[in-house]
Symmetry: C2
Subunit: 455 residues, 2 copies
């Protein structure tokens, strides 16, 4: 019997998140206050986040306990399955062993609930009654809607208007879980009203939606704001993915030579690779390759500048030291909406600077070639984001075919593409456009980096 799936018993589900900050060879650069340029304090962040999350943001404890209430909710879908893509291996005729850890069986269809549930819990514990957030394509908004439903918290999602109109299914998902979802710009905030007065048909942007969600949160004592990627505490919550995978790879009697995943804000891939990178940092597995994959049209790590920049377009957020294409850069409308971000998780950028992770940019048509091949061999319809992983995994497996090496490749598969089928349709009908690197746009946006970036 050839095994293709490894289940981890619920009693063996990890009960602690892994905090890479304990094992970094150099500490992360501090986060700076957008007005003063000085490192932010807990008090600066308190109107937005519960104190437990602010503590996690800067903690250097190696292991952080997952609260029992969060574990109980995790156990409605976790541990997720580790698969071996045997049928893909055969189709490629490669000696490589291809594993993938699949987060698509969460109720929201991705890794996002891992942090949504934790954030809802900590907010609930601090007496918060309501959480606001922004969402683009709706992956994050729907996960937070579910997290809030589970802890009896009101949830308000500002959804970029163009997505709100184009992707009604994600809005319906949020509403099914009880959240309120409005198109952004909305008349519910000053920044929204100002924009609507100037431009009634404004299609919105993630940056504007963030501004609306932040304004809403700071203006109400019962309300906090929540972010679905980039920040340290978000990556921390996602490490349950990699910690589970370590146990499952041991069950499979395997250890990865290459770990591959896509990065938008970076939380899914970091959730997988951070628990492994400690073996590379410690020297136990020096030759482990960790490949971050990003779109050719939004190549933050491969073409961005390592500098302090805002997380949002409006410049409301603290300054993060990261690779950036400039906070004013609006990425082209690729189908992988989750990868359309000008910045990147500071932890990933730091590890890249230190030489522990590498990065590759890939083209939109190539990732759908890979996605279709995966669908026709393994069955799973992948989101456009994890199709990026598949492209590079297949490339590496074909290199193995050439060299005869039986390498072990681990894919950090973030979820299904059930709400992204229009992209597959465009591909199958020959209408998919391959969007190039918008060099001129990036150059312009780079000029507008905040002053502190030059220090």
């Amino acid at each position: 019997m050839e095994r293709s799936m490894w289940f981890l018993d619920q009693k063996d589900m990890p009960t602690q998140w892994y905090n890479i900050q304990a094992d970094l060879p150099e500490p992360l650069p501090p986060v700076l206050h957008p007005a003063t340029g000085k490192p932010v304090t807990s008090q600066d962040l308190a109107p937005l986040f519960p104190m437990e999350l602010i503590k996690q943001e800067v903690s250097t404890e190696r292991w952080i306990d997952i609260p029992q209430e969060v574990q109980d909710v995790y156990r409605t879908w976790r541990p997720t399955v580790l698969y071996r893509a045997r049928r893909l291996e055969k189709a490629l005729d490669t000696p490589a062993k291809i594993f993938y850890k699949y987060e698509g069986t969460s109720q929201a269809g991705s890794h996002k609930p891992n942090t949504a549930v934790a954030q809802a819990y900590y907010n609930k514990k601090e007496g918060i009654k309501r959480i606001t957030t922004e969402t683009g394509a709706g992956q994050w908004g729907s996960a937070l809607a579910m997290g809030c439903a589970f802890f009896g918290i009101e949830c308000k999602v500002y959804m970029v208007r163009v997505s709100y109109d184009q992707k009604p299914y994600r809005r319906i998902l949020m509403e099914t879980w009880g959240a309120k979802c409005v198109p952004s710009p909305s008349p519910d905030t000053k920044v929204g009203r100002d924009m609507l007065a100037k431009w009634p048909d404004c299609p919105g942007s993630l940056g504007l939606a963030i501004s609306e969600a932040v304004e809403d949160a700071v203006n109400r004592d019962d309300t906090h704001y929540s972010l679905g990627s980039v920040l340290n505490h978000v990556l921390l919550h996602q490490t349950i993915i990699g910690e589970e995978t370590r146990k499952q790879m041991e069950m499979a009697d395997a250890y990865p030579d290459i770990i591959v995943g896509c990065i938008g804000g970076g939380s899914n891939f970091a959730g997988q690779f951070l628990p492994w990178i400690r073996d590379k940092i410690s020297g136990k597995k020096k030759d482990l390759r960790i490949i971050c994959v990003e779109p050719e049209s939004c190549p933050t790590v491969t073409k961005g500048l390592y500098a302090y920049d805002y997380g949002d377009v409006a410049g409301f957020t603290p300054l993060l030291k990261m690779y950036t294409l400039g906070h004013n850069f609006i990425p082209p409308p690729i189908h992988a909406g989750g990868l359309r971000y000008h910045g990147m998780a500071p932890i990933i950028c730091h590890l890249h600077r230190l030489g522990f992770v590498e990065a590759q940019a890939v083209h939109q048509t190539a990732i759908f070639d890979a996605g279709i091949m995966f669908a026709r061999t393994e069955g799973i319809i992948s989101g456009p984001e994890p199709c990026h992983d598949l492209k590079v995994a297949i490339d590496e497996a074909l290199k193995c075919k050439e060299s005869g090496e039986a390498k072990t490749i681990l894919i950090a598969h973030s979820g299904h593409g059930h709400f992204d089928l229009a992209a597959y349709d465009a591909y199958l009908s020959g209408k998919l456009v391959d969007l190039a690197y918008p060099e001129e746009e990036v150059r312009k946006a780079m000029v507008e980096l905040p002053k502190v970036a030059t220090e």
Copy 2:
């Protein structure tokens, strides 16, 4: 630690299907030839189905080996998980224990691949190069598309035109797996061309799509036809669901008092309950209740006649002894497309006649009440079909609350509703219509039952 999921190791996946025909107290009535009224022979069916499936249709062997090649494909998603709905139990404040076996993690999102993969395999083995089928909402067509992709068989799906236009995502799914999907009526068959000549804008019907698929298959030597429910061999392939569940319930130290599931053609629910009903037939668990749930607007078992009838509108198929609302009956357009069928699996009807299963009809608004409650407690967005199960399971759990009994309820949950969110939207926005029992329509259709029905 409170466990909410039971995984079954792949080495413990059942390797045989269970055939209820070995344990029926009385044999099934024979299937009759539509022209002669005599029992059909293997040769009558050979232009449509491979001989192995024809044999399974009438076999009385208790256990039938699952071919190794089919097992290998099953292991790309099986065993599926048994869940306990602890958060739903708490919300209902019931002493009942509610379990659900969930087929929504298959790549196609439902139980349908269990038979699609098997049927594709047996056809491949017999040298068949191409399979035709019909599909309404697209659940079955997409599962067969995947099954055919896995065995390198061409797949042509005739999709009811109104669904083809309204549900492009299901069509895209089929195309992603490499199938050809055309709206029915189509110019590809005589029956389709005739209809288009008469009525160019004909919205199509399942009955017409079956006729097209059958005509296509009988006219080409390299082509067979495939059906996704009703027939004995289809129910047989689905018994892997119940056989897995038996092992998982044992792991959970539980045995069901009530098993509940929805029935359209009946294959998912039969796949779950047939492996349990042998304990009821043998007297080992006499008080086991098996509740079939159907829509109020298409109440085949609760209001139909037990008679010989055609499987399709055009009267091309053999005659099956079953509960029927008349093969000319067109069920109202409820969202649970998978339950809109005038007939029912003969095995289920037979067991109902013998008193081993009961049936209930429920209203469309009530099933969405249940679906929303399930989504907000357990997270999963259920298809409209399994929302029928949830409604009755919740009713039974509330009866337990009243009586104080800690009964064990097992739900046969057939899959997710990711492509049915328009129905949730209608419900949430107060636009969902509750469709009543169309008594007059059924009365008319009943008059047109084939003559043999009166014997």
